[in-house]
Symmetry: C2
Subunit: 455 residues, 2 copies
């Protein structure tokens, strides 16, 4: 409880500063955010201000609390944006998504390896053209914001042009984005492969150009073990050593045929994760999409190396990949974030992704509460990306990325919202029934970036 | 091919009748419907008129074909409703849904048996009050129509009042609906049980009152074996003998704990299906929701008795029930319909239900094509309900229940619609990405019953 009192005092102190007041933005609504993991902090993890006020200054949160506590210190110069009846939540965080696959979402019939050959590779070829890639990046970010997603860890294609296009577009929107150029030097069409050397050189140049520029961060991005030679994986490892604050993203144990293939390609390694581990690609800034078919020793190694798993429910069902073991992973102290994995995922909506996450967990006879779900989608996602010092909740000093949710956006949702008694129930209704229609507005860095009324 | 020529001639003949012309309604759009099962008829199963015309007279289809073929025979008195750029499809058919559970959709955390005790039974108690039930029935049918569903096989509650309310509301909308009062005389709260005799008497009175009245049909509705005594199951069997055109609906093998419970309660029977079979509850008008954990002998018995299975994807995932074996059932010649199973299902949308059906089939390493999916949602559903002489496609003489789909309803859907090359692809995009937003209008019996522009 002490934490809350301290927080309130900070808020009050900031709210009282006369000079800051003039440019403070104030948003009134029902505030829900997390200050800790519900699995360890229990009821203290979620803060809920039924009539709340969120204060933002220069793109940063300066306070969040009860309206009655904070409003009295506002000067007349401060306009209060009235979102009463709406929920104000931290922006959603998508820990795995492929921007060039937006245009091929909902491609029929295949499981992972054929799906890559039949749909993905021919599509990604187009992204060598910067102008084309930039246009698609615009569409992609529009979709993210329409769905309330303000941060994502993103795959570009093998082309540096697509990576530049993605970062240019993210920079234009001042979004906190982590992304990288795919490294892929075998087992893919000729038109789509680089080499160990060119991928190292291109990635290095992109890191120098983008990592830490504004809100942008770089991720070294070997697609997955089957499409990289040992030399290329070693090159990826060298980049991580040279740039210790850079991220690493790849795929791991998504599909049983894939796992078998990796064992064939790397017979000298103990298993799939060990391939990455051997080349120095595990670590606290390494995010492994899917991580479904891990053996117990691999789960332990994920935890020991502080590596992260991205849970991609709609994709894992759509490609028939399998059921992610959420609680075994969390119990082993592996950080987990939520990922849409568009284009194998079927929705940009983190809400719909939580709907299917719940179902995957239910099929394993366990329960994903809404409290835990929304935690994973916000602060948990920020922790998974080692970025919780910057985003993920409304603690003062955090970057002001947030979403305005209208829980009455559809007749069915309105009825269930109104007959729910607790915030846990209301959140569960949202994570089951809601979609982009429920996102009324999305703010990035304190600025309105999506407004449903103006779409 | 002969079939198509005959059809065209019928259309032409009807279109030429002068007298009928004055009151014929004509709808121009992209027509897609099925005249056979794609599994047996292949490419001939689906008819597609890119620029099509649908002709309706007195609530019945009188023709469907190419606009250029049919338009020239229209008189000036006929107004053509212009739905160009939209798809015209037969109304969707939901083969399993509980209207009183609408208000408890998205109830957290339980699998079947606890979910019934904690959420369902307390909710259904309220439906003894006719006025309350009627109000909820209005909301329920609004949701069906908003989602393009024009026919459903529906559970009321144990109360005859709720059943009257449901039928009164369906009658007011001239909808083709099959429904029944739940029979339940044990293993449920005192406030919610009937007796073998009262359930027989009430059901009989409801059959006399509603079965065959207008477009309404009755289904004898024992909830499931665990909540009926042998006496009550025998009473249900007697009703089916006395009224051979009446339907039967119940639940079967949804959950493993349920299956084990049935074996305890009916040790004298060979298995779960055999309980129903023994009491005369199998047959061509008997629909068994879920039917997940059937043994091979049971699947064979389903086929031998011409019994029907309702596949309820969102429910089976939401309650963690398990994976319906679609192709093993179809291969065994068991008719299958699609069901939302709201309130355990998480959507009234048959489109979203197909999205999750695909995923359940994918997890079993098989493929549900959009052609097969839309067949199951329309003509296949009508066949499952032995009602394909009346609804399910646009063959002349069928009742004119249809839906107008806007495939460009969202930015993402529009992009994918426009970059898809074939109708199979376009339909797959719809069954993966679409929801009630894509339903622009729904017609019941030839009359506009839902219009998104006026919601």
């Amino acid at each position: 409880m002490r934490f809350f009192l301290v927080l309130t005092k900070i808020v009050a102190a900031l709210a009282l500063t006369g000079q800051a007041q003039a440019k403070v933005k104030a948003f009134r609504g029902e505030i829900v955010h997390f200050v800790a993991d519900p699995r360890t902090a229990g009821d203290l993890a979620m803060q809920h201000f039924a009539d709340g006020l969120l204060l933002v200054d220069d793109g940063k949160v300066v306070g969040a609390g009860h309206y009655q506590d904070l409003a009295k210190d506002l000067t007349k110069a401060t306009t209060v944006v009235d979102y009463r009846g709406r929920l104000l939540m931290p922006g959603f965080i998508d820990t795995h998504v492929h921007f060039p696959q937006t245009e091929m979402i909902a491609a029929y019939g295949e499981q992972l390896l054929q799906w890559l050959n039949n749909y993905t590779f021919p599509t990604e070829r187009k992204y060598k053209d910067y102008a084309y890639a930039r246009g698609q990046a615009k569409f992609f970010f529009d979709e993210l914001l329409r769905n309330g997603t303000t941060t994502a860890l993103i795959f570009a294609t093998v082309h540096k042009e697509s990576t530049d296009a993605l970062f240019d577009e993210a920079a234009a929107r001042a979004m906190r984005v982590i992304a990288g150029k795919v490294m892929m030097d075998r087992n893919a069409p000729d038109y789509l492969i680089d080499t160990a050397k060119s991928s190292y050189d291109d990635s290095k140049a992109l890191i120098e150009k983008w990592h830490g520029k504004g809100r942008l961060l770089y991720a070294v991005t070997p697609r997955f073990a089957p499409t990289s030679t040992p030399d290329q994986l070693a090159a990826a490892g060298r980049l991580l050593k040279e740039y210790p604050t850079v991220y690493m993203q790849t795929h791991l144990s998504e599909n049983q045929a894939e796992v078998a293939w990796v064992k064939e390609l790397f017979p000298e390694r103990k298993g799939y994760l060990d391939v990455y581990d051997h080349y120095g690609l595990t670590g606290s800034r390494s995010v492994f999409a899917h991580s479904i078919y891990l053996e117990d020793t691999e789960i332990k190694r994920m935890a020991a190396t502080q590596s992260v798993a991205s849970f991609c429910p709609t994709s894992n069902l759509f490609l028939g990949s399998g059921l992610f073991k959420l609680y075994p992973m969390l119990d082993a102290n592996v950080r987990v974030g939520i990922g849409t994995d568009v284009g194998a995922g079927t929705s940009f909506s983190i809400l719909q992704t939580l709907n299917e996450a719940y179902k995957i967990v239910q099929l394993q006879k366990q329960k994903l509460s809404a409290i835990q779900g929304f935690y994973l989608a916000t602060l948990g996602g920020a922790k998974a990306l080692s970025i919780d010092d910057k985003i993920g909740n409304f603690v003062p000093g955090k970057e002001a990325d947030f979403v305005v949710i209208d829980p009455t956006a559809t007749a069915l949702g309105k009825m269930r919202h109104e007959n729910s008694k607790t915030m846990a129930e209301k959140l569960f209704v949202l994570m089951t029934l809601a979609d982009d229609r429920y996102v009324q507005a999305t703010y990035v860095n304190g600025t309105l970036a999506y407004d449903a009324a103006k779409k």
